[in-house]
């Protein structure tokens, strides 16, 4: 492994900001969720990179975290999409800017 850690970190940072940009700038609810997934992936990548380049790789800490993170992400995406479907059924729209009922 000759690539320095910083490359992985930079990649993860860029990936994160791309995901963030999508979550913040796109109108469709599903695309917001995809952006969130991308952010999660970037964080996982960070964890694995740090685990690999860290002082105690035998402790498997970063790995474990990443595994759990993946599981949680899966659960979250399921619920989130169910929500989007439910909202679409009621409101006939998937535009995030039109979900203003909780304002105030």
């Amino acid at each position: 492994m000759t690539t320095p850690l910083s490359h992985y970190l930079l990649l993860s940072a860029l990936l994160f900001s791309v995901g963030f940009a999508g979550a913040v700038l796109r109108r469709h609810a599903v695309l917001v969720l995809i952006g969130i997934e991308l952010m999660l992936n970037a964080a996982n990548l960070n964890f694995i990179a740090f685990w690999r380049y860290g002082p105690h790789p035998e402790a498997l800490t970063g790995l474990m975290f990443a595994i759990f993170s993946i599981a949680i992400a899966a659960a979250e995406v399921a619920v989130g999409l169910a929500l989007v479907i439910a909202i679409y059924r009621h409101r006939k729209t998937s535009q995030v800017e039109q979900f203003q009922a909780l304002k105030g």
Partner: protein, 188 residues
């Protein structure tokens, strides 16, 4: 430089796929590009000597999450060309926020002493050890994850369930059954 070729390739692929996922108009294209990005990240895991996580990533993200997203896209009739503008109306504020986040992430990395850190000799992450640790050290999070997944499953089903049609007026005339076309998968 050559030994770093896999990394750069995978990095570029992942990055471009991600950007594509976030900028395309057609939502199905977005979903598929997202799947590609997930695959790239999985490959990167493999590159980082974490095969288990990499395959788990492929299984879960590509195999489940991406498919789920595609299902959601189709069910919400987003496959048809959506209404005009793809990006939000207050995009300038969003761009500023993104810039700030990017700066906040990149600048510390560039200024940190870990810039040139090289990987130590290979650690190896045998699945046996992973399983061992899951059952001993991380047993509590494991069980909690199990609960969480159960709750999420039930919750998703409940949320996405159709309401019972109990408020319908009593009419003897039944509406004629419609023919279901491929295009009519989406909910109207």
């Amino acid at each position: 430089m050559l030994s770093e070729f896999p990394f750069y390739a995978l990095a570029l692929v992942t990055l471009f796929a991600a950007i594509a996922a976030m900028t395309l108009r057609n939502l199905v294209h977005c979903a598929l590009c997202a799947a590609a990005a997930f695959t790239g990240v999985g490959a990167l895991y493999l590159l980082l000597d974490a095969p288990f996580v990499g395959f788990a990533q492929l299984l879960v993200y590509v195999g489940a999450v991406a498919i789920l997203i595609i299902f959601a896209v189709l069910l919400t009739c987003a496959a048809e060309t959506g209404p005009g503008i793809a990006f939000s109306s207050s995009w300038l504020a969003g761009v500023c926020a993104v810039a700030l986040v990017l700066a906040g992430l990149v600048l510390p990395i560039l200024m940190s002493p870990s810039l040139d850190r090289l990987a130590p000799p290979v650690a190896g992450a045998p699945v046996k050890d992973i399983g061992n640790q899951l059952m001993t050290i991380y047993v509590l999070p494991l069980e909690t994850i199990g609960l969480l997944l159960t709750a999420a499953l039930i919750g998703a089903v409940v949320i996405a369930m159709q309401d019972k049609p109990d408020a319908q007026p009593a009419s003897d005339v039944k509406p004629p059954p419609r023919e279901i076309a491929d295009k009519d998968l989406c909910l109207r």
